[in-house]
Amino acid sequence: MFRRQFLTIAAAGLITAGLVAPLKAEEKFIVVQSTTSTQNSGLFEFMLPKFTEKTGIEVRVVAVGTGQAIKNAANGDGDVLFVHAKPAEEKFVADGNGVKRFDVMYNDFVIVGPPSDPAGVAGSNNVTDALQKIAKAEAPFASRGDDSGTHKAELRLWKAAGIDVKGASGGWYRETGSGMGATLNTGTGMGAYIMTDRATWISFGNKGEYKVAVEGDDKMFNQYGIILVSKDKHPNVKADLGQQFVDWVVSKEGQQIIADYKIDGQQLFFPNAAPSGS
């Protein structure tokens, strides 16, 4: 009786030992802290296998909001940071967490809205005016509210429009505190306007009747940057492998691959790396 019990425990122990066994040491990989838009749009799935094929370096992407990605990287939990919030990225480098920041690519933000268009902003290319109209009509607006790159950009635009959204929070201004996809799911469900990056919107599968309402304003420019995490500050960083990835992304080859990525014939990201960095 007890022997059988012993065997069960021994078998269980073996399973566990197999799992906890150290990872293969020869595995070459880097961890990239990045943002949901690059992952959800499918760009990484298109891009990364080509890099791995060329260099033998596996790229492990942790896709979270830009705010969280920067914090994770500042803890040394990543070799490369690939996000979209230039002021926060520059601070990351200035604080000694990153080596150098390079522009990689851009796309733009758009405001999507329901077909009823309660604030009458559809077709607008003036985001300041559109936001003022939304606020005046007190039309529901779903915000990320999660300190992500998109959220930071959205708050800058509200500020430029001279509107205090904090006071309206819980009323027509609704902070979901979630990722882009979750906010789109929630916002479309409540008939709210939502600001999203174009790449996530194009690849989003639950659009319903929603359409892009506001687009084409220079203020809605969305720049992505890449930074190697500093080995001086975080000794575990794989500086050599990470640098290879950064170099490749801003290289002619990497930039061309970004330009080649399309969904339904639409280009999602526009490469604009300058070899000197910024």
Partner: protein, 235 residues
Amino acid sequence: MKDFTSILAEAIGLIFAGDADLIEIIALSLKVTLSAVVIACLIGLPLGAAVGAFRFPGRTLVTILLNSLMGLPPVVVGLVVYLALSNAGPLGPLQLLYTPTAMVIAQTILVTPIVAALTRQVIEDLDTEYSEQFRSLGVGPLERMKALLWDARYSLLTVALAGFGRAVAEVGAVIIVGGNINHVTRVMTTTIALETSKGNLELALALGVVLLVIAVMVNAAVMGLRASAVRSAYA
């Protein structure tokens, strides 16, 4: 939005398509969850049995604590494990963050209190029933615990299944410490969360159905084992 029959059809299609990526994700889900449950049982069964069978000062307090820890929020556990395993944390040098091992650690913390608290109740009830016999036979404490655990084995199987249910359905902790990295730490629940955020609601729901089917299969396998054990015991 499609109706539920088409989602069900998609789920069945997913199961029979034998997609290599999906099989990899299911395998990792099972590996992580079962490892966590096994470790949680190795800790929780003796712990719960000890609290259930022995009288010691502070016993009520320990019982309250175990019962409360059953409600640990997964996100909080994920954060604590993240902070511990982070390169900025005390266990950073182990380089376990964003590995399946980190996910097993987080789930073990979630499941152990469930196993321990439920075991405590089962063993305590059984001990009340057996206490006179134990006393008349002069059974030592360790023997007593062993006998109680053995006689309660079928109830404890359900305890383990409760732990499995918690672990296999959990997403908040594993997505933080695992990072939902494709081919490395992506499991069923994090895949469902990802597809939901992509707006692929039908695929997400279909994956949910697949997860449910897996849970049913594991439960059926355990009940099958139990039935054959009962048969052989009376044979």
